[in-house]
């Protein structure tokens, strides 16, 4: 069980890190729309973020409401402010 929490935390952290890199590049590109380096950085981390998101969702449930679903899983997983074992 502990191991599963560790994996969940690690996979969520990976997605948080990649999607943060995407967002920060997006904000930078607002100010520097012609910066090729930033655009490559954006594309690279966008790919990594989508992959990390899909991997997490396959194992631990949806991060965004799914495009198509077979059962209602959205409210089954904990909310992001809830700590495992906490309230």
């Amino acid at each position: 069980m502990m191991n599963n929490h560790n994996t969940k935390d690690r996979m969520m952290k990976a997605y948080q890190a990649y999607s943060f890199a995407v967002y920060d590049a997006l904000l930078y590109l607002d100010a520097y729309p012609n910066c090729r380096e930033a655009m490559e950085h954006y594309n690279k981390y966008q790919k990594l973020a989508s992959k990390a998101k899909a991997e997490y969702e396959a194992k631990f449930g949806p991060i965004t409401a799914p495009v198509e679903m077979s059962s209602w899983e959205w409210t089954n997983s904990p909310w992001p402010w809830q700590i495992e074992g906490g309230r």
Partner: protein, 202 residues
């Protein structure tokens, strides 16, 4: 339109509840330089902004501030879990508790409720951007003060992330100001407001 992601922008995992800390940190939710005001400021100002790059910056920073509302709220939620009435009275959290129990409500540390009167959407390019620059510095200074008062690595980790974002936002708004001025009359920046006055470009 926005889409919710069931994740925090940066992890918040606080092992030890501490209602005293919650009472201080709540100011970054509903205080004069808090995240609620920050988000509303940028998301309202962007409609009058005539330069698409700056509208983009206001949209994206305003959206990130929504994620910061969620992070500060997560910090408050975790700091106030499993409290006893005795702990609540001793910590001084009782003045918040009596009105809100442990619900999340935007107030300043002083207890003054959040009010939109704390920010402006002036519809004037230079006035709005200068307010945004000042707002980021004031929020950064508040996070500095929180770091002076709080001594818990779990709390400080999340606060340091939020502080660092204020610095990045300040940088982006400084660039926004430069973009605006590049589009204005360098000999008289205050001659007209490009968000309202229609003057043909030279």
């Amino acid at each position: 339109m926005w889409q919710y992601e069931k994740k925090l922008q940066y992890p918040v995992k606080i092992k030890n509840p501490n209602p005293k800390y919650a009472q201080i940190i709540v100011s970054q939710l509903g205080g004069p330089d808090g995240e609620v005001g920050a988000s509303l400021r940028y998301l309202t100002q962007r409609f009058a902004m005539p330069y698409p790059q700056i509208t983009g910056i206001l949209t994206d920073v305003g959206t990130e501030e929504l994620a910061h509302i969620e992070m500060v709220s997560a910090i408050l939620y975790q700091l106030t879990r499993n409290l006893t009435p005795d702990e609540i009275v001793k910590s001084g959290f009782d003045t918040y508790f009596v009105d809100h129990t442990t619900g999340i409500y935007p107030v300043a540390a002083s207890g003054y409720p959040y009010t939109v009167a704390q920010f402006q959407s002036k519809g004037d390019v230079l006035a709005d951007l200068h307010e945004d620059l000042a707002a980021e510095q004031k929020a950064r200074a508040t996070y500095d003060n929180i770091l002076r008062l709080v001594d818990d690595p779990d709390v400080c980790d999340a606060i340091k992330f939020l502080r660092a974002r204020e610095v990045v936002h300040y940088q982006r708004f400084a660039e926004a100001l430069r973009i605006a001025q590049d589009n204005m009359d360098a000999q008289n920046f205050y001659g007209y407001n490009p968000a309202f006055d229609k003057i043909s470009k030279k």
